[in-house]
């Protein structure tokens, strides 16, 4: 069945609700409005206000409530409309959810799932166009995943609900209209995935940059690795690929200073230095707040042409 990324997210929610009665959804406009991106459309009617709960505009309060519900034995799915607003909820996520297992000596953990949309490219201006996956991937105790495919949009939520850790799932509005076959297979929250085979250069990416990277790969015979899990990183497929291609470009929609790209490159330098036949390269967003005008926004983000240029730069 070919469905959109948006439908895959919705299907994941329905499957999660049907599978486990402890699961409920809370967040801004998830109920009556059907979700800002219409992901939870129809859920209030089907499952009722007990399980589909509209919250006040206070991320600190409702994310905190979600952590509490998880401690109380529920399986909450907390939707934070966008990652930009999640900054208001960093304390319950970082200081509470991520650390309770450690602080309680393993007695309690908070199996809360936080879904949030992220990324730029839709002319929403600087404050609504952040890509902050790297901030979350910095924190031990969190599992951080990025859904870049239809199967992951559907399956990552189900896998996250089975995980005893707090899981942050990043969803990409830039991909909401992409379509593909939903395999219905279960997915893991532990491995990076090889999305395209190639022989000349390894292209490592995640999230919204995956389709751009796949497009660029056509031109440079690139092997594309989708990191999928941003914490803990699975570098095995990356290293295996680099041992074949000896060249690597990391494509990351985040700013390059302190980015996930930086972490990936550092690990490659640590573990595969002698396999490299060219310097490591990366394509990130420009180090500016994302501009509003369309042409400037496009210029500020990774694009297939930039990826191709970076890859070609690794050859003489």
């Amino acid at each position: 069945m070919t469905i959109t990324y948006r439908e895959a997210l919705r299907q994941g929610l329905y499957d999660a609700f049907d599978r486990d009665e402890r699961v409920f959804l809370m967040g801004e406009d998830v109920g009556k409005y059907g979700g800002t991106y219409a992901v939870s459309k129809g859920m209030l009617e089907k499952y009722g206000p007990e399980r589909v709960r509209d919250t006040p505009l206070s991320e600190l309060a409702f994310v905190g409530a979600g952590v509490g519900a998880a401690l109380g034995g529920m399986r909450p799915i907390v939707e934070v409309m966008t990652v930009n607003f999640s900054l208001l909820a960093l304390d319950p996520i970082v200081n509470t959810a991520a650390m309770l297992h450690h602080m309680s000596g393993g007695q309690v953990s908070a199996p809360v799932v936080i879904r949030t949309s992220t990324g730029a490219g839709r002319q929403l201006a600087a404050q609504h166009s952040n890509t902050l996956e790297a901030w979350y991937a910095h924190v031990p105790g969190l599992k951080v995943v990025a859904a870049a495919t239809i199967d992951d949009a559907h399956g990552m939520l189900l896998a996250a609900l089975e995980d005893p850790n707090p899981v942050v799932i990043f969803e990409y509005p830039a991909l909401f209209e992409t379509k593909a076959e939903l395999s219905g297979k279960t997915v893991d929250l532990s491995s990076a995935a090889l999305r395209r085979q190639g022989s000349k250069v390894t292209l490592v990416t995640y999230g919204a940059c995956l389709p751009k990277t796949l497009k660029a790969a056509e031109e440079v015979d690139g092997e594309v690795i989708d990191l999928r899990v941003l914490r803990p990183l699975d570098m095995v497929p990356v290293m295996e690929s680099i041992r074949r291609t000896r060249r690597c470009v990391v494509v990351d929609e985040g700013w390059k200073s302190g980015s996930l790209a930086a972490e990936v490159m550092a690990r490659i330098a640590e573990d595969a230095f002698y396999d490299l036949d060219a310097p490591l390269a990366r394509v990130c967003r420009e180090e500016v707040p994302i501009p509003y005008p369309k042409h400037l926004e496009e210029a500020a983000l990774p694009q297939p042409e930039k990826i191709v240029a970076a890859a070609k730069g690794l050859f003489g």
């Binding site: 000896r246 396999d275 490299l276 060219a278 690794l314 003489g316």
Partner: protein, 360 residues
Amino acid sequence: MIEFKLPSLGADMDEGKLLEWKVKPGDQVKRGQVIAVVDTSKAAVEVEIWSDGVVSELLTKPGETIAVGTVMARLDGAAKPEERPKEQLVMRKPASPAARKRARELDVDVEKVAGTGPHGAVTVEDVEKAARLPGKPEAVPEKLEKIEKPEKALEIRKAIAAAMSRSKREIPHYYLSQAIPMQRAAEWLGAENAKRPITGRLLMGVLQLKAVALALGDFPDLNGFYRDGTYQRAPAVHAGVAISLRQGGLVAPAIHDVAELSLDELMKALADLVRRARAGSLRSSEMSDPTITVTNLGDTGVDTVFPIIYPPQVAIVGFGAVKEGRLVVSLGADHRASDGRRGALFLAELARRLQEPEKL
């Protein structure tokens, strides 16, 4: 007073052999002048001096092999600080890490390879291409030329093949390993070596060898020969030391009566043995006498050695690299002569001995 030290003449050089002095005490020397010829593992190299002055003393004798950094001569006069020539500060040729690694494997000089990578950097492909060029000596033929007889390498290979096939065919090996803390031994050795001139310094391998020999005192069932269906203990520990040869292959000649030798004597014996093994001048008794073999692959970074017994011996001890203060020592032993528990106790005793380096 200026000290003239043996410079490193290549990234892989850690010692050199003085072939000839081009100056004598009293000679005036000028910056850039060739004053000595030193043999590295690769070639004889003319060594220049980087200060002006008058030679007052030559400390190294022709024929001596010394470590990089050893003071070879003293000069009086010009008090100008040692300057490195500008051309030595020029950046080395850009080459990828993988290309450098491949170049070492193929014995290709990266500096002479034309680079086609980004910024003209040398790539793996460039190195491999250079290695294939006619006239450029490839690794294998060049190394073979260095051997007196090319068939020597083949003979060694055949001998190893025969011994190891027999070993794996006949000997029911059991393998044990134990990680041994090495902080004490390392500290003791560091302090001991600090007191010594560079030429008199001890290697960790010597401590290991001595500890093995002493530990074997309580385990005669690991030191001897299994022949014709019976085990014969050996009256002394003659440790066969596995030495890799430059042309490939290895030999494991004996150091006699290791338990009776002081560390200094053992160090001398080891250095002498390695030198002669590589020069191909071993004595026949050294080849036939080993009662146990010790192999050390730690310099390659290997964690654990799974050693194969050299028949008719009944045991072999392998040392890996010291990592995070610990060293994995392993034992391959002949189950016909001893049992696992004995082997385990031997390793424990070896570990204990290495905790008391001052008693070795």
